[in-house]
């Protein structure tokens, strides 16, 4: 019946509720309820090997506020902010290039950006390891260059170069940041692209026409108008970076632990669920703060 289809959902409340029930139930059962349980755990302590007693203690939070954990949380924040910053700086020109590419090549460029999504994160991370490790592609290539140069210099009787020392590219903070940028970059580029794609080209032309150069046009017209895209790009990059645990686990060194690694250890190796729960919720609060900041910086007009 066509008329029923036309009826707005506000009037077909029964239909609306029945359609909504499934997703709501799903969210409740598999997101809110587990979260509530974990939240409850964070106010308890372990008893024996597998029992948790929830007694309303704040001991876990007090423990979590220990400078050791705070410093790891802070470092995670630094890593996440750095990652986001690099993604923004790298992603902005990429998004602009796609926006201003010819229509027929635009789809292909977008496909290239999304291609990594088709590969498992673990495989991508291992691939990155193959590139970065001591005998990895970068070091092998650099070694080849160095040896060639060394050979040349030696034949010319100029000097004797020391043998090639492979660069330490893996298992340190650099590798973690690089890995995070590598994983998060598409999440930055896509919202930036969609914001810039909506930009009226004649605004840029008007700016040029009024005598502005390209840089001024970029910073006074493109960036302010792309702000909603920048804000959502920052958010979707920052939050997963903050909670990353696979990348620091595989690419990081002993001092590259991020907060998610600590949390994972509490739930697994340390078998201290209440403390892990407290740390998880601290991380969530930090994330909420980031979202609140983002919404403060997003202009209200951004809703177009």
């Amino acid at each position: 019946m066509a008329e029923n289809v036309e009826e707005p959902w506000t009037q077909a409340r029964g239909m609306f509720a029945s359609l909504l029930a499934g997703p709501v139930l799903f969210l409740f059962a598999f997101l809110l309820a587990p979260l509530a349980i974990i939240w409850g755990y964070s106010f308890g302590h372990t008893q024996g090997l597998k029992d948790i007693v929830v007694d309303g203690t704040f001991a876990n939070y007090a423990h979590a506020l220990n400078p050791l954990y705070l410093s790891i949380l802070f470092k995670s924040l630094v890593f996440a902010v750095l990652t986001t910053g690099i993604c923004l700086v790298v992603g902005f020109p990429v998004a602009m290039a796609i926006t201003f590419a010819k229509p027929q090549s635009r789809a292909w460029l977008l496909l290239l950006i999304m291609l990594p999504f088709w590969t498992n994160l673990l495989i991508r991370t291992y691939a990155l390891m193959a590139v970065l490790r001591t005998q990895g592609y970068i070091n092998v290539f650099l070694g080849f260059l160095w040896n060639s140069l060394s050979h040349l210099v030696a034949t010319a009787h100029l000097a004797h170069l020391a043998p090639f020392q492979p660069l330490d590219l893996l298992y340190n903070n650099f590798a973690v940041i690089l890995g995070l940028v590598y994983v998060q970059l598409p999440f930055m580029v896509l919202p930036l692209y969609s914001a810039m794609d909506r930009l009226d080209r004649s605004l840029l032309e008007a700016s040029l026409d009024l005598g502005a150069g390209h840089l001024r046009t970029l910073f006074q017209i493109v960036v302010p108008l792309a702000m909603p895209g920048i804000a959502s790009g920052v958010l979707v990059t920052l939050i997963p970076s903050l909670g990353a645990f696979l990348t620091p686990d595989l690419l990081g060194g002993v001092d590259s632990q991020m907060i998610a690694n600590v949390i994972e250890r509490q739930f697994k190796a340390a078998n201290d669920w209440p403390f892990g729960a407290a740390l998880s919720f601290l991380l969530m609060y930090v994330t909420f703060a980031a979202i609140a900041l983002q919404s403060m910086f997003t202009p209200k007009r951004g809703r177009r």
Binding site: D200, L210, A212, L225, P299
Partner: protein, 374 residues
């Protein structure tokens, strides 16, 4: 009006892939003119305008502004400013910031900017709107912001890309008047692109009609309307009846053209530059045809070999379109051809004089038809 050339196109060509958007156009626009580029969409008029602004670069030829070759000069260093079709008012800036943008870019002192912005807003009748954001303005007001923003730069030429197309009919009428008044007031050369022939005729001192990248005709509005040089121009500007015919007699002081569609030959009181026997087209504007219910014949054409009753044909009314001030009649001639004739409704009862199916006579002066060779 022949002044100093402010814009000169020299054999300008622009291609997009295999499409030739602008085809070897040479044109000169004088200082102080209100010049209109007129043509159907896709004729290359906007491309030509954008090449003046520097937003497109010609593939061949040169563009001179004020005698200077600007073909390779980027848009931000050209002494021209543009009012975009979408107005392109910066949505994140206030009206005042929009208007001030071009001055800030130039590095004009802050103290000087504010009074000039105020003055520019006054010029476009937007004084007091400086603090508003563009989304608080109507389309017409946004256009005024775009105008003020361009004019504050004191351009040598103001470029307007379809400036009235997004306005409603009443406002469009008003803006036509205001734009011509503004141009009179400040004396800046206006170069406007439009597909609306009424707009071009009403505002421009001179027009160029373009089709498929080619310049068809350049002239004053009345030149284009009364003396079109091609079927395209005759048809594009205003309404017209066009009959294909053959030039039978071509003397210095008269000519006779026989048209298969018309029951009698067309007599002209002037010569035509064409070979006898050549195919020509007779263009006759509807308002130049007199429609009457009785056979006219009182006034014989003042020509030697024009028989009594020349340029008079009989027909039957097929359609009447009542337009208020006038009525447009479609008349089927005895030969089967259909002719449009426009009749002013001189009295309030005029439209009641004619009915569909009624026999009528059409007559026109021997000087009225325009003879087209292509």
């Amino acid at each position: 009006m022949t002044g100093r050339a402010i814009i000169t196109f020299e054999n300008v060509t622009k291609r997009y892939g295999r499409v030739v958007a602008v085809d070897n156009v040479s044109l000169s626009i004088d200082e102080g003119e209100f010049f209109a580029l007129l043509g159907p969409s896709g004729c290359g008029k906007t491309t030509l305008l954008r090449m003046v602004a520097g937003l497109e670069t010609p593939d061949d030829g040169r563009i001179l502004i004020d005698g200077q070759d600007v073909t390779q000069v980027p848009p931000n260093r050209r002494p021209v400013n543009m009012v975009f079709q979408s107005y392109a008012v910066f949505p994140h800036m206030t009206v005042a910031a929009n208007v001030a943008y071009g001055l800030k870019v130039e590095g004009v002192a802050e103290a000087e900017i504010a009074p000039r912005v105020e003055q520019a807003l006054k010029l476009v009748k937007l004084d007091g709107y400086g603090a508003r954001k563009p989304d608080q303005l109507s389309g017409g007001q946004r256009q005024r912001v775009a105008l003020a923003r361009a004019l504050i730069k004191k351009p040598r030429v103001l470029l307007l890309d379809e400036p009235l197309s997004a306005l409603d009919a009443k406002l469009r009428e008003q803006m036509r008047f205001e734009l011509t008044q503004l141009q009179d007031q400040i004396g800046v050369t206006f170069l406007i692109v439009t597909h609306d022939q009424d707009e071009a005729l009403a505002m421009a001192s001179r027009c160029a009609v373009m089709n498929k990248g080619l310049l068809q005709q350049v002239g004053s509005p009345s030149d284009l309307y009364e003396f079109p040089n091609s079927r395209f121009v005759a048809d594009f500007i205003g309404q017209v009846n066009i009959f294909e015919g053959r030039l039978d007699i071509d003397a210095p002081d008269h000519a006779v053209i026989s048209c298969p569609g018309l029951p009698t030959p067309v007599y002209l009181d002037h010569g035509v530059t064409g070979a006898t026997g050549a195919t020509v087209w007779v263009a006759l504007r509807p308002e130049k045809i007199e429609l009457s219910g009785r056979k006219p014949g009182s006034e014989p054409p003042k020509m030697e070999d024009a028989p009594q009753g020349a340029n008079i044909v009989a027909g039957e009314v097929r359609h009447i379109v009542y337009l208020g001030s006038e009525s447009l009649f479609e008349v089927e001639l005895d030969g089967g051809a259909r002719v449009k004739a426009l009749r002013t409704n001189l009295t309030r009862w005029d439209q009641e004089d004619f009915a569909v199916g009624q026999p009528v006579w059409l007559a026109w002066h021997a000087c009225s038809p325009a003879i087209l060779l292509n």
